[in-house]
């Protein structure tokens, strides 16, 4: 997995670039079984959050206009990459979370299943039509994406739970800012890199790292 982010430095992902947060505080990511320091994180500040939201906002019109079948193709390619890297992702997950390797393989499988499900977006997102609700008048429903979403996800399933959210958000044509748990964000950083490689356009999936201060800044964004 090629990455602009190193394996140990957590980077924000904004506008398709891996960038260092500009905050002043830092946190370590550790292996809960050994105490080994696995990674370092700079806590994002409000300016970093604003940049991520601005990036997601800017990417929305073009992504929304991308046909659902093309959005699904990105997810199909991501699914293939996740299968290819499943074992290394599982090892990474055990190292940062602590759960046993078989459970980590299962968690990544649950994440992949959400990508697979979201690949069905051309049918999942269809609307409905009824002709002649009154004489000569037709009625239809259309499902339209809403714009920019945010997801703040917990430490206990740091791969699966983000994938309950962002694959659907992007499949439906929205863009999103994700704040992973600061306790175990490493494995998901690898998955974001795979999503880039799969062709997810810049600004569609943004990541800001940090603790609850970053979560608070994110939910207060207007």
């Amino acid at each position: 997995m090629a990455s602009n982010a190193t394996d140990t430095q957590m980077m924000n992902h904004i506008g398709g670039e891996w960038v260092l947060a500009s905050g002043t505080d830092s946190l370590d990511v550790t292996n809960p079984a050994t105490g080994e320091v696995l990674g370092h994180m700079i806590v994002s500040n409000e300016a970093d959050v604003d940049k991520a939201v601005a990036s997601a906002t800017a990417a929305f019109p073009e992504w929304r206009a991308t046909p659902p079948v093309e959005r699904a193709r990105v997810l199909f390619r991501l699914k293939a990459k996740l299968e290819e890297h499943l074992e290394e992702l599982a090892v990474s997950l055990t190292r940062e979370h602590g759960k046993v390797i078989a459970e980590c393989r299962g968690e990544i499988r649950r994440g992949i299943e959400n990508v697979e499900h979201a690949c069905g977006i051309p049918t999942l997102m269809m609307g409905s039509t009824l002709e002649d609700i009154a004489t000569g008048i037709d009625c239809e429903t259309i499902r339209q994406p809403l714009g920019v979403f945010a997801a703040i996800t917990p430490y206990n399933f740091p791969v699966m739970i983000p994938m309950w959210f962002w694959p659907y958000a992007v499949a439906t044509g929205n863009t999103i800012v994700l704040k992973p748990s600061e306790q175990d964000p490493l494995t998901h950083q690898k998955i974001v890199e795979l999503a880039r490689e799969a062709g997810l356009p810049s600004g569609v999936l943004n990541v800001v790292h940090g603790d609850r201060r970053v979560a608070d800044a994110l939910v207060q964004t207007r």
């Binding site: 979403f149 206990n156 659907y168 958000a169």
Partner: protein, 212 residues
């Protein structure tokens, strides 16, 4: 057992309170105690290990705090995971498998989400009494029944009032094409994760009425 001790209890569907109905109680207690005692704690990358650490030192202290509280409130601690150690891994955040029995409704360990490897056992005289225990708790994420009776299973799913229900399944975690989410104090919002709800959450249904 996977329901209680999988992911070291750190999952939202972790089995927490185990209710044995009538004569089923003693065999359930004995089997949980036997198997919990045999779980091997250690680094999750080692295939011989059954249960890893909890996420942080702070969380280990929190779980141990719940165990202390359970003892103080009068539950019988029949397997104590406090102060667990693993040879060669002195810096891990270890809490061993823990089992309480005689856990009363309304007590802290009977009510709260411990999010650690702690089973709280109690006895009920009937399925109705067991269902009443579910209703007394503010949370409602997942619940399971283990039975050979189709009638009991049917009664359980009819009356439990919980969003994710397992019948002879300990972790009733819906797959991607079904909705994942709880009820009561375990849920905030109106649409769940995954499934068709995920599409509903990320889109708005616009209605267009046309006349030409």
């Amino acid at each position: 057992m996977a329901s209680i001790y999988g992911s070291t209890g750190q999952r939202c569907l972790a089995g927490s309170v185990v209710v044995g109905v009538q004569d089923a109680y003693e065999p359930i207690r004995d089997r949980i105690l036997d198997r919990a005692s045999a779980l091997r704690l250690g680094n999750g990358l080692d295939d011989a290990v059954d249960m890893g650490p909890v996420i942080s030192a702070a969380h280990a202290r929190r779980v141990e705090g719940f165990i202390n509280r359970g003892k103080d409130e009068g539950a019988r601690l029949i397997l104590d995971g406090r102060g667990a150690t693993v040879p060669g891994l002195p810096n891990g955040h270890w809490v061993g498998p823990t089992v309480f029995e005689g856990v009363r409704p309304g007590t802290t360990v009977g009510n709260e989400e411990i999010f650690g490897p702690v089973a709280s056992l109690t006895r009920a005289n009937s399925l109705e009494e067991a269902l009443a225990l579910i209703k007394k708790n503010q949370y409602g994420n997942a619940t399971s029944i283990f039975t050979t009776s189709g009638k009991a299973a049917r009664e359980f799913r009819y009356h439990a009032g919980i969003s994710m229900i397992g019948v002879n399944i300990g972790v009733a975690g819906p797959m991607a094409f079904f909705p994942f989410g709880g009820s009561r104090a375990s849920f905030y919002g109106d649409l769940k994760a995954q499934g068709q709800d995920a599409i509903g959450f990320y889109t708005d249904q616009r209605v267009v009425i046309s006349k030409w």
